[in-house]
Symmetry: C2
Subunit: 225 residues, 2 copies
Amino acid sequence: MKIGIIGSGVVGQTLGAALKSKGHDIRLGVRSVSQADLDKPRDRAETLRQWQAKTHVDIVTFAQAAAFGEVVINATGGGVSLQALQIAGAEAIGEKILIDVSNPGDFSTGTLTSLPHLTNTTSVGEEIQKAFPKAKVVKTLNTAYIGVGVNATLVGDGEGDMFIAGNDAQAKASVEALLKRDFNWKNVVDLGDIVGARSMEQFLILWFRLFGLRGTPLFGVKLVG
Amino acid sequence: MKIGIIGSGVVGQTLGAALKSKGHDIRLGVRSVSQADLDKPRDRAETLRQWQAKTHVDIVTFAQAAAFGEVVINATGGGVSLQALQIAGAEAIGEKILIDVSNPGDFSTGTLTSLPHLTNTTSVGEEIQKAFPKAKVVKTLNTAYIGVGVNATLVGDGEGDMFIAGNDAQAKASVEALLKRDFNWKNVVDLGDIVGARSMEQFLILWFRLFGLRGTPLFGVKLVG
């Protein structure tokens, strides 16, 4: 499948490499494709040139990635997602499935909190759906470390639960199939319409607390009962 | 053990009856012990007179319950907890273990959200600890339906995780022992100091979404990995 990824940080790179390895045709969308930007050191992520040399994925603009994909993935930070997707363009996104894996995390105070305007009474997923009403927004993969997200068997042999939310049942079914087939998730829990994104994004604070205390992001969560 | 419970709704009643059945000496604290209030119909909970007839637990004022308990439990709603505990009184609470089981849930808009002044950058548990600096505040039991909270075996034979947070290690150890002995929790996950209450209270939105979709509160959550 042709997949355009918006965002080239750790999340976008991890998703791009994993999907490419499963045979998908990937374009990674970045804000700037200048030579200088390809070599710019990046927090935790590889430089784009290093990543490209390893994965052989084409690096293009946000707009080109959105236009290319049959499915588009938002892999930008929650606080900049709406802006990045506006740059990608409503026309290029159209009525496509738009997988949103973002979180409204805010580290600006030194402690992880959620951006108030993107939490509690709303969520990044809901705001994206409002801004792109034709797109079939599907929220998923934001409740786990992305390395686990693309390979559920890294944790407890894949017995954890992945959540999903969105307004379009067929789009959710397609994304669920991808999660199971390509990312080895055995259990996908449907949280209903896109308002479910709110509950998934609120999980960030608990996830991050556990990450800090365990010292590893290699854990998941499973519903019991 | 002598336990004073602040709050007489479903949560306080369920905790009181369960702890009494395990041999603890309980006083249930209410705002008003007038005859009229004992017979007042209550949302979801029994009238206090019905509950008293069944449990034989003494119903007293907030202040009397706090003074009576070697351990005090805050079972009021998160939005009124600080006020209720101020009525109970800092002197009566003193340096006791203060188990906080509340959530900052707000139904006033018709949809469950969290009270902004008690979430994200803080939590009910943290605000209680600030207001009662001598008390040993231990956050727990707020991430499950209280019926499951007092009997973990109702869900998946007790394989779910209960969380706990607080600044005092000895107080947490005492509460953990009570959770395991009296409420059948096999796994208690320590989320560190009282700031961990924040991550536990944020879980409310996901819990409530799952409750709505499943149509039953009989579920739990388990960490994997």
